[in-house]
Protein backbone atom coordinates (compact mmCIF):
# COMPACT_ATOMS: atom_id res chain seq x y z
CA UNK A 1 0.00 0.00 0.00
CA UNK A 2 1.24 3.46 -0.95
CA UNK A 3 2.63 5.53 1.94
CA UNK A 4 1.82 9.21 2.60
CA UNK A 5 4.83 11.50 2.93
CA UNK A 6 5.11 13.65 6.07
CA UNK A 7 5.09 16.68 3.77
CA UNK A 8 1.65 15.80 2.36
CA UNK A 9 0.43 15.04 5.86
CA UNK A 10 1.71 18.38 7.12
CA UNK A 11 0.04 20.19 4.24
CA UNK A 12 -3.34 18.63 5.00
CA UNK A 13 -2.94 19.69 8.64
CA UNK A 14 -2.80 23.25 7.32
CA UNK A 15 -6.44 22.80 6.33
CA UNK A 16 -7.31 22.88 10.00
CA UNK A 17 -5.41 26.12 10.33
CA UNK A 18 -7.73 27.62 7.73
CA UNK A 19 -10.70 26.83 9.96
CA UNK A 20 -8.86 28.19 12.99
CA UNK A 21 -8.19 31.47 11.16
CA UNK A 22 -11.83 31.67 10.11
CA UNK A 23 -12.93 31.06 13.68
CA UNK A 24 -10.58 33.71 15.05
CA UNK A 25 -11.70 36.19 12.40
CA UNK A 26 -15.40 35.60 13.23
CA UNK A 27 -14.66 35.49 16.96
CA UNK A 28 -16.45 32.17 17.35
CA UNK A 29 -14.24 31.34 20.30
CA UNK A 30 -13.47 27.96 18.75
CA UNK A 31 -9.90 28.63 17.63
CA UNK A 32 -8.13 27.47 20.77
CA UNK A 33 -10.35 24.45 21.29
CA UNK A 34 -10.02 23.42 17.64
CA UNK A 35 -6.25 23.80 17.69
CA UNK A 36 -5.67 21.77 20.82
CA UNK A 37 -8.31 19.19 19.92
CA UNK A 38 -6.71 18.58 16.52
CA UNK A 39 -3.26 18.38 18.06
CA UNK A 40 -4.52 16.01 20.71
CA UNK A 41 -6.31 13.94 18.10
CA UNK A 42 -3.20 13.70 15.95
CA UNK A 43 -1.00 12.62 18.85
CA UNK A 44 -3.59 10.06 19.97
CA UNK A 45 -3.85 8.63 16.46
CA UNK A 46 -0.09 8.31 16.15
CA UNK A 47 0.13 6.60 19.52
CA UNK A 48 -2.69 4.24 18.56
CA UNK A 49 -0.95 3.56 15.27
CA UNK A 50 2.02 2.21 17.17
CA UNK A 51 0.09 0.03 19.63
CA UNK A 52 -2.75 -1.13 17.41
CA UNK A 53 -0.74 -3.94 15.92
CA UNK A 54 -0.54 -5.39 19.43
CA UNK A 55 -4.16 -4.64 20.35
CA UNK A 56 -5.62 -6.32 17.30
CA UNK A 57 -4.08 -9.67 18.15
CA UNK A 58 -5.49 -9.74 21.69
CA UNK A 59 -7.58 -12.88 22.15
CA UNK A 60 -8.01 -12.78 25.93
CA UNK A 61 -11.62 -11.89 26.61
CA UNK A 62 -10.91 -10.10 29.88
CA UNK A 63 -8.31 -7.85 28.32
CA UNK A 64 -10.65 -7.05 25.44
CA UNK A 65 -13.45 -6.19 27.85
CA UNK A 66 -10.96 -4.05 29.75
CA UNK A 67 -9.92 -2.14 26.62
CA UNK A 68 -13.54 -1.48 25.60
CA UNK A 69 -14.36 -0.38 29.16
CA UNK A 70 -11.41 1.97 29.11
CA UNK A 71 -12.67 3.53 25.87
CA UNK A 72 -16.14 3.84 27.36
CA UNK A 73 -14.69 5.47 30.49
CA UNK A 74 -12.82 8.05 28.44
CA UNK A 75 -15.93 8.75 26.36
CA UNK A 76 -17.94 9.25 29.56
CA UNK A 77 -15.43 11.75 30.89
CA UNK A 78 -15.39 13.71 27.62
CA UNK A 79 -19.18 13.83 27.32
CA UNK A 80 -19.72 14.63 31.01
CA UNK A 81 -17.22 17.49 30.75
CA UNK A 82 -19.79 19.28 28.59
CA UNK A 83 -22.47 19.41 31.30
CA UNK A 84 -20.44 20.01 34.44
CA UNK A 85 -23.15 22.09 36.06
CA UNK A 86 -25.43 19.10 36.52
CA UNK A 87 -24.15 17.17 39.51
CA UNK A 88 -23.73 13.46 38.91
CA UNK A 89 -24.67 13.62 35.22
CA UNK A 90 -21.67 11.38 34.45
CA UNK A 91 -23.61 8.51 36.00
CA UNK A 92 -26.34 8.91 33.40
CA UNK A 93 -23.81 9.13 30.56
CA UNK A 94 -21.84 6.16 31.84
CA UNK A 95 -25.03 4.08 32.07
CA UNK A 96 -26.07 5.01 28.54
CA UNK A 97 -22.65 4.28 27.06
CA UNK A 98 -21.81 1.09 28.98
CA UNK A 99 -25.22 -0.52 28.63
CA UNK A 100 -25.74 0.33 24.96
CA UNK A 101 -22.22 -0.69 23.96
CA UNK A 102 -22.25 -4.00 25.82
CA UNK A 103 -25.74 -5.01 24.70
CA UNK A 104 -24.95 -4.19 21.06
CA UNK A 105 -21.59 -5.97 21.15
CA UNK A 106 -23.22 -8.94 22.84
CA UNK A 107 -25.88 -9.20 20.13
CA UNK A 108 -23.34 -8.91 17.31
CA UNK A 109 -21.34 -11.73 18.88
CA UNK A 110 -24.46 -13.84 19.37
CA UNK A 111 -25.55 -13.35 15.77
CA UNK A 112 -22.07 -14.34 14.63
CA UNK A 113 -21.60 -11.03 12.83
CA UNK A 114 -18.26 -10.51 14.57
CA UNK A 115 -15.81 -12.68 16.51
CA UNK A 116 -14.59 -12.18 20.05
CA UNK A 117 -11.10 -11.15 19.02
CA UNK A 118 -9.14 -7.93 19.01
CA UNK A 119 -9.38 -7.16 15.34
CA UNK A 120 -13.19 -7.13 15.51
CA UNK A 121 -14.00 -6.08 19.04
CA UNK A 122 -11.60 -3.15 19.23
CA UNK A 123 -12.63 -1.24 16.08
CA UNK A 124 -16.32 -2.12 16.35
CA UNK A 125 -16.33 -1.39 20.08
CA UNK A 126 -14.64 1.92 19.32
CA UNK A 127 -17.30 2.89 16.82
CA UNK A 128 -20.05 1.97 19.27
CA UNK A 129 -18.46 3.92 22.09
CA UNK A 130 -17.98 6.92 19.82
CA UNK A 131 -21.56 6.83 18.62
CA UNK A 132 -22.93 6.52 22.15
CA UNK A 133 -20.72 9.40 23.27
CA UNK A 134 -21.87 11.68 20.44
CA UNK A 135 -25.43 10.74 21.14
CA UNK A 136 -25.16 11.52 24.86
CA UNK A 137 -23.47 14.85 24.22
CA UNK A 138 -25.99 15.94 21.59
CA UNK A 139 -29.02 14.77 23.51
CA UNK A 140 -27.97 16.33 26.80
CA UNK A 141 -26.83 19.56 25.23
CA UNK A 142 -30.20 19.97 23.60
CA UNK A 143 -32.20 18.84 26.63
CA UNK A 144 -30.29 21.01 29.11
CA UNK A 145 -30.57 24.11 26.96
CA UNK A 146 -34.31 23.45 26.53
CA UNK A 147 -34.70 22.96 30.28
CA UNK A 148 -32.86 26.22 30.98
CA UNK A 149 -35.01 28.13 28.51
CA UNK A 150 -38.29 26.55 29.61
CA UNK A 151 -37.92 26.59 33.37
CA UNK A 152 -41.23 28.39 33.76
CA UNK A 153 -43.07 25.85 31.62
CA UNK A 154 -41.57 22.97 33.59
CA UNK A 155 -42.49 24.58 36.89
CA UNK A 156 -46.02 25.28 35.64
CA UNK A 157 -46.30 21.54 35.04
CA UNK A 158 -44.81 20.69 38.43
CA UNK A 159 -47.21 23.13 40.06
CA UNK A 160 -50.09 21.06 38.71
CA UNK A 161 -48.77 18.03 40.53
CA UNK A 162 -46.75 16.53 37.67
CA UNK A 163 -43.89 14.22 38.59
CA UNK A 164 -40.53 15.27 37.14
CA UNK A 165 -40.77 12.71 34.33
CA UNK A 166 -44.15 14.09 33.27
CA UNK A 167 -43.06 17.70 33.68
CA UNK A 168 -40.28 17.38 31.08
CA UNK A 169 -41.80 14.73 28.83
CA UNK A 170 -42.39 17.16 25.96
CA UNK A 171 -38.85 18.53 26.10
CA UNK A 172 -37.35 15.05 26.24
CA UNK A 173 -39.32 14.10 23.14
CA UNK A 174 -38.11 17.17 21.29
CA UNK A 175 -34.50 16.47 22.25
CA UNK A 176 -34.84 12.86 21.07
CA UNK A 177 -36.26 13.88 17.73
CA UNK A 178 -33.64 16.59 17.15
CA UNK A 179 -30.95 14.17 18.21
CA UNK A 180 -32.01 11.50 15.73
CA UNK A 181 -31.86 13.73 12.65
CA UNK A 182 -28.12 13.25 11.88
CA UNK A 183 -28.37 9.48 12.31
CA UNK A 184 -31.39 9.16 10.06
CA UNK A 185 -30.03 11.60 7.47
CA UNK A 186 -26.73 9.78 7.27
CA UNK A 187 -28.64 6.55 6.51
CA UNK A 188 -30.58 8.26 3.73
CA UNK A 189 -27.43 9.39 1.95
CA UNK A 190 -25.48 6.23 2.62
CA UNK A 191 -23.37 5.32 -0.40
CA UNK A 192 -24.62 8.34 -2.35
CA UNK A 193 -22.84 11.18 -0.63
CA UNK A 194 -21.08 9.57 2.21
CA UNK A 195 -18.92 6.46 1.81
CA UNK A 196 -18.62 5.27 5.38
CA UNK A 197 -15.14 5.18 6.81
CA UNK A 198 -14.91 1.48 7.49
CA UNK A 199 -16.10 0.44 4.05
CA UNK A 200 -13.78 2.89 2.33
CA UNK A 201 -10.94 1.59 4.45
CA UNK A 202 -11.61 -2.03 3.62
CA UNK A 203 -11.83 -1.29 -0.10
CA UNK A 204 -8.65 0.83 -0.09
CA UNK A 205 -7.05 -2.05 1.81
CA UNK A 206 -7.92 -4.46 -1.01
CA UNK A 207 -11.00 -6.35 0.33
CA UNK A 208 -13.77 -7.23 -2.14
CA UNK A 209 -16.30 -4.35 -2.21
CA UNK A 210 -19.20 -6.72 -1.58
CA UNK A 211 -17.66 -8.04 1.62
CA UNK A 212 -16.88 -4.47 2.59
CA UNK A 213 -20.51 -3.56 1.95
CA UNK A 214 -21.72 -6.41 4.15
CA UNK A 215 -19.53 -5.25 7.00
CA UNK A 216 -20.76 -1.74 6.50
CA UNK A 217 -24.37 -2.86 6.71
CA UNK A 218 -23.68 -4.61 9.98
CA UNK A 219 -22.09 -1.40 11.22
CA UNK A 220 -25.05 0.75 10.17
CA UNK A 221 -27.66 -1.58 11.65
CA UNK A 222 -25.79 -1.86 14.91
CA UNK A 223 -25.30 1.89 15.09
CA UNK A 224 -28.99 2.58 14.60
CA UNK A 225 -29.87 -0.01 17.23
CA UNK A 226 -27.32 1.36 19.63
CA UNK A 227 -28.51 4.88 18.97
CA UNK A 228 -32.03 3.83 19.89
CA UNK A 229 -30.93 2.00 23.01
CA UNK A 230 -28.70 4.77 24.34
CA UNK A 231 -31.39 7.38 23.57
CA UNK A 232 -33.95 5.35 25.43
CA UNK A 233 -31.72 5.12 28.48
CA UNK A 234 -31.01 8.85 28.38
CA UNK A 235 -34.67 9.73 27.91
CA UNK A 236 -35.89 7.46 30.69
CA UNK A 237 -33.36 8.53 33.29
CA UNK A 238 -32.54 12.17 32.50
CA UNK A 239 -35.16 13.61 34.86
CA UNK A 240 -33.50 11.99 37.86
CA UNK A 241 -30.55 14.32 37.48
CA UNK A 242 -32.49 17.52 36.85
CA UNK A 243 -34.81 17.45 39.86
CA UNK A 244 -34.24 16.83 43.53
CA UNK A 245 -36.14 14.28 45.57
CA UNK A 246 -38.90 16.80 46.31
CA UNK A 247 -39.67 17.21 42.63
CA UNK A 248 -38.03 20.63 42.54
CA UNK A 249 -36.16 21.73 39.43
CA UNK A 250 -32.44 22.11 40.10
CA UNK A 251 -30.31 24.80 38.48
CA UNK A 252 -28.56 23.39 35.44
Amino acid sequence: MRDISYLSLGLTFLLILAFILFSAWQRLGLAKDTFFSSLRGAIQLLAVGYVIAYVFVIENGWILAGVVSLMAGIATAVSAGRSKRVAGIWKLIATAIFVSVSVTLGLLLTFGAIEWSGKFVIPIGGMLVGQAMNNSSLFLERLLSDVRRNGLQIESNLALGARPREAIRGLVRQALIADSIPTIDSMKTLGLIYLPGMMAGLIVGGISPIIAVKYQMVVIFMIVFEFGLSSMILAFLAHRFLFNRNAQLKEC
Partner: protein, 219 residues
Protein backbone atom coordinates in the same frame (compact mmCIF):
# COMPACT_ATOMS: atom_id res chain seq x y z
CA UNK B 1 -59.05 27.93 64.34
CA UNK B 2 -56.30 26.26 62.34
CA UNK B 3 -54.99 28.67 59.68
CA UNK B 4 -54.77 27.72 56.02
CA UNK B 5 -51.03 28.33 55.96
CA UNK B 6 -48.67 29.13 58.76
CA UNK B 7 -44.99 30.07 58.46
CA UNK B 8 -42.85 29.81 61.60
CA UNK B 9 -39.41 31.45 61.76
CA UNK B 10 -38.71 31.00 58.09
CA UNK B 11 -35.26 32.01 56.86
CA UNK B 12 -34.07 31.87 53.29
CA UNK B 13 -30.88 32.99 51.63
CA UNK B 14 -30.30 32.98 47.89
CA UNK B 15 -27.05 32.99 46.04
CA UNK B 16 -26.55 34.70 42.73
CA UNK B 17 -23.30 35.22 40.83
CA UNK B 18 -24.09 38.93 40.45
CA UNK B 19 -24.88 40.09 43.97
CA UNK B 20 -23.55 37.27 46.11
CA UNK B 21 -25.76 35.99 48.92
CA UNK B 22 -28.93 37.84 49.86
CA UNK B 23 -31.19 37.07 52.79
CA UNK B 24 -34.72 36.96 51.35
CA UNK B 25 -36.45 36.03 54.60
CA UNK B 26 -35.06 36.40 58.07
CA UNK B 27 -36.87 34.46 60.74
CA UNK B 28 -40.22 35.49 59.31
CA UNK B 29 -43.56 34.26 60.64
CA UNK B 30 -46.99 34.57 59.08
CA UNK B 31 -50.52 33.25 59.39
CA UNK B 32 -52.72 33.03 56.33
CA UNK B 33 -56.31 32.40 57.35
CA UNK B 34 -58.44 30.86 54.71
CA UNK B 35 -61.22 33.33 54.05
CA UNK B 36 -61.39 34.98 50.67
CA UNK B 37 -58.40 36.54 48.99
CA UNK B 38 -55.21 37.04 50.95
CA UNK B 39 -53.16 39.83 49.35
CA UNK B 40 -49.36 39.97 49.53
CA UNK B 41 -47.63 43.23 48.68
CA UNK B 42 -44.07 44.47 48.72
CA UNK B 43 -41.44 46.07 46.51
CA UNK B 44 -39.82 44.20 43.66
CA UNK B 45 -37.29 41.67 44.92
CA UNK B 46 -38.89 41.55 48.38
CA UNK B 47 -39.57 37.82 48.17
CA UNK B 48 -43.22 37.69 47.13
CA UNK B 49 -42.66 35.04 44.47
CA UNK B 50 -40.41 33.13 46.84
CA UNK B 51 -43.22 33.05 49.44
CA UNK B 52 -45.66 31.54 46.94
CA UNK B 53 -43.05 29.03 45.80
CA UNK B 54 -42.69 27.90 49.42
CA UNK B 55 -46.41 27.31 49.70
CA UNK B 56 -46.54 24.69 46.96
CA UNK B 57 -42.95 23.59 47.46
CA UNK B 58 -41.37 24.65 44.20
CA UNK B 59 -38.64 25.53 46.68
CA UNK B 60 -37.99 25.10 50.39
CA UNK B 61 -36.64 27.60 52.92
CA UNK B 62 -33.34 26.72 54.55
CA UNK B 63 -34.79 27.17 58.03
CA UNK B 64 -38.18 27.25 59.66
CA UNK B 65 -41.37 25.32 59.22
CA UNK B 66 -44.43 25.80 57.04
CA UNK B 67 -47.81 24.30 57.85
CA UNK B 68 -50.82 23.66 55.61
CA UNK B 69 -54.00 23.10 57.65
CA UNK B 70 -51.73 22.63 60.66
CA UNK B 71 -49.67 19.90 59.03
CA UNK B 72 -45.98 20.44 58.17
CA UNK B 73 -45.94 20.64 54.38
CA UNK B 74 -42.82 18.48 54.22
CA UNK B 75 -44.97 15.62 55.46
CA UNK B 76 -47.51 15.96 52.64
CA UNK B 77 -46.58 14.11 49.43
CA UNK B 78 -45.41 16.91 47.19
CA UNK B 79 -47.54 16.11 44.13
CA UNK B 80 -50.64 15.87 46.32
CA UNK B 81 -49.85 19.24 47.91
CA UNK B 82 -49.41 20.86 44.49
CA UNK B 83 -52.71 19.47 43.24
CA UNK B 84 -54.45 21.04 46.21
CA UNK B 85 -52.45 24.27 46.05
CA UNK B 86 -52.45 25.48 42.44
CA UNK B 87 -50.33 28.32 41.12
CA UNK B 88 -50.78 30.91 38.39
CA UNK B 89 -47.49 32.51 37.37
CA UNK B 90 -46.70 36.03 36.29
CA UNK B 91 -46.35 34.96 32.67
CA UNK B 92 -48.08 32.16 30.81
CA UNK B 93 -45.69 29.41 29.66
CA UNK B 94 -47.85 26.98 27.75
CA UNK B 95 -46.43 24.19 25.63
CA UNK B 96 -47.20 24.23 21.91
CA UNK B 97 -50.26 22.07 22.19
CA UNK B 98 -53.95 22.66 21.67
CA UNK B 99 -55.92 24.45 24.36
CA UNK B 100 -57.70 21.14 24.97
CA UNK B 101 -54.46 19.24 25.60
CA UNK B 102 -53.26 22.00 27.89
CA UNK B 103 -56.45 21.87 29.93
CA UNK B 104 -56.29 18.07 30.13
CA UNK B 105 -52.74 18.03 31.51
CA UNK B 106 -53.73 18.20 35.18
CA UNK B 107 -56.76 15.87 35.00
CA UNK B 108 -54.76 13.26 33.06
CA UNK B 109 -52.19 13.19 35.86
CA UNK B 110 -55.00 12.11 38.16
CA UNK B 111 -56.38 9.59 35.66
CA UNK B 112 -59.40 11.78 34.86
CA UNK B 113 -60.56 12.50 31.35
CA UNK B 114 -63.18 15.27 31.34
CA UNK B 115 -65.31 15.62 28.21
CA UNK B 116 -65.11 18.62 25.89
CA UNK B 117 -68.36 19.95 27.34
CA UNK B 118 -66.74 20.14 30.78
CA UNK B 119 -63.72 21.92 29.32
CA UNK B 120 -65.95 24.35 27.43
CA UNK B 121 -67.73 25.16 30.69
CA UNK B 122 -64.36 25.78 32.31
CA UNK B 123 -63.33 28.07 29.47
CA UNK B 124 -66.53 30.10 29.76
CA UNK B 125 -65.82 30.33 33.48
CA UNK B 126 -62.61 32.28 32.78
CA UNK B 127 -64.15 34.34 29.94
CA UNK B 128 -62.47 32.34 27.23
CA UNK B 129 -64.31 31.55 24.00
CA UNK B 130 -64.83 27.73 23.93
CA UNK B 131 -64.35 27.95 20.16
CA UNK B 132 -60.63 28.26 20.83
CA UNK B 133 -60.37 24.70 22.16
CA UNK B 134 -58.56 23.33 19.10
CA UNK B 135 -56.18 26.26 18.72
CA UNK B 136 -52.50 26.06 19.53
CA UNK B 137 -52.30 27.63 22.99
CA UNK B 138 -48.80 29.00 22.50
CA UNK B 139 -50.03 31.14 19.61
CA UNK B 140 -52.89 32.93 21.34
CA UNK B 141 -52.58 36.49 22.67
CA UNK B 142 -50.87 36.89 26.04
CA UNK B 143 -54.19 37.74 27.68
CA UNK B 144 -55.82 34.61 26.24
CA UNK B 145 -52.82 32.50 27.20
CA UNK B 146 -53.05 33.75 30.77
CA UNK B 147 -56.74 32.72 30.79
CA UNK B 148 -55.82 29.29 29.44
CA UNK B 149 -53.23 29.03 32.21
CA UNK B 150 -55.89 29.92 34.76
CA UNK B 151 -58.33 27.38 33.31
CA UNK B 152 -55.52 24.81 33.30
CA UNK B 153 -55.00 25.29 37.02
CA UNK B 154 -58.73 25.29 37.75
CA UNK B 155 -59.17 22.04 35.79
CA UNK B 156 -57.19 20.50 38.63
CA UNK B 157 -59.89 21.65 41.10
CA UNK B 158 -57.44 23.16 43.58
CA UNK B 159 -58.51 24.14 47.04
CA UNK B 160 -56.15 27.13 47.10
CA UNK B 161 -54.91 29.23 44.22
CA UNK B 162 -51.60 31.09 44.44
CA UNK B 163 -51.42 34.04 42.05
CA UNK B 164 -48.06 35.66 41.33
CA UNK B 165 -48.78 39.09 39.82
CA UNK B 166 -50.99 37.30 37.31
CA UNK B 167 -52.13 40.47 35.56
CA UNK B 168 -48.86 42.39 35.30
CA UNK B 169 -48.38 41.46 31.65
CA UNK B 170 -51.96 42.26 30.68
CA UNK B 171 -53.73 45.47 29.70
CA UNK B 172 -55.92 47.13 32.31
CA UNK B 173 -59.19 45.85 30.88
CA UNK B 174 -58.08 42.21 30.70
CA UNK B 175 -56.54 42.53 34.17
CA UNK B 176 -59.89 43.68 35.58
CA UNK B 177 -61.63 40.73 33.94
CA UNK B 178 -59.22 38.27 35.56
CA UNK B 179 -59.76 39.97 38.92
CA UNK B 180 -63.52 39.64 38.52
CA UNK B 181 -63.16 35.99 37.55
CA UNK B 182 -61.10 35.13 40.62
CA UNK B 183 -63.37 37.12 42.94
CA UNK B 184 -66.36 35.25 41.54
CA UNK B 185 -64.66 31.86 42.02
CA UNK B 186 -63.80 32.79 45.59
CA UNK B 187 -67.34 33.89 46.32
CA UNK B 188 -69.27 31.21 44.47
CA UNK B 189 -67.02 28.16 44.60
CA UNK B 190 -65.30 28.70 47.94
CA UNK B 191 -61.86 28.88 46.30
CA UNK B 192 -59.14 30.31 48.55
CA UNK B 193 -56.55 32.62 47.03
CA UNK B 194 -53.19 34.11 47.93
CA UNK B 195 -52.63 36.99 45.53
CA UNK B 196 -49.31 38.75 45.05
CA UNK B 197 -49.44 42.24 43.59
CA UNK B 198 -47.41 45.40 43.80
CA UNK B 199 -50.21 47.66 42.60
CA UNK B 200 -51.84 49.41 45.54
CA UNK B 201 -55.04 50.04 43.57
CA UNK B 202 -55.32 46.37 42.62
CA UNK B 203 -54.75 45.42 46.27
CA UNK B 204 -57.58 47.79 47.27
CA UNK B 205 -59.93 46.15 44.80
CA UNK B 206 -59.06 42.66 46.07
CA UNK B 207 -59.83 43.18 49.74
CA UNK B 208 -58.64 44.13 53.17
CA UNK B 209 -57.00 40.89 54.15
CA UNK B 210 -53.38 41.75 53.34
CA UNK B 211 -49.74 41.76 54.33
CA UNK B 212 -46.53 43.45 53.14
CA UNK B 213 -43.08 41.93 52.86
CA UNK B 214 -40.37 44.34 53.87
CA UNK B 215 -36.73 43.69 54.65
CA UNK B 216 -37.23 39.96 54.99
CA UNK B 217 -40.21 40.19 57.37
CA UNK B 218 -43.96 40.33 57.12
CA UNK B 219 -45.40 43.67 58.29
Amino acid sequence: MIPLFELKNVSCRKKSPASGETAVFHSASLCINGDGIFVVMGPSGAGKSTLLRFLNRLEDPQEGEIFFHGKPIREIPVTQLRQRVGMLFQLPALPEKTVRDNLLFGPHLKGENPADSVLAELMRHVDLDPGLINRDAAHLSVGQQQRVSLARVLANKPEVLLLDEPTSSLDAETALKIEETIKRLVKEDGLKAVWVTHHADQADRLGKNRIRIEKGRFV
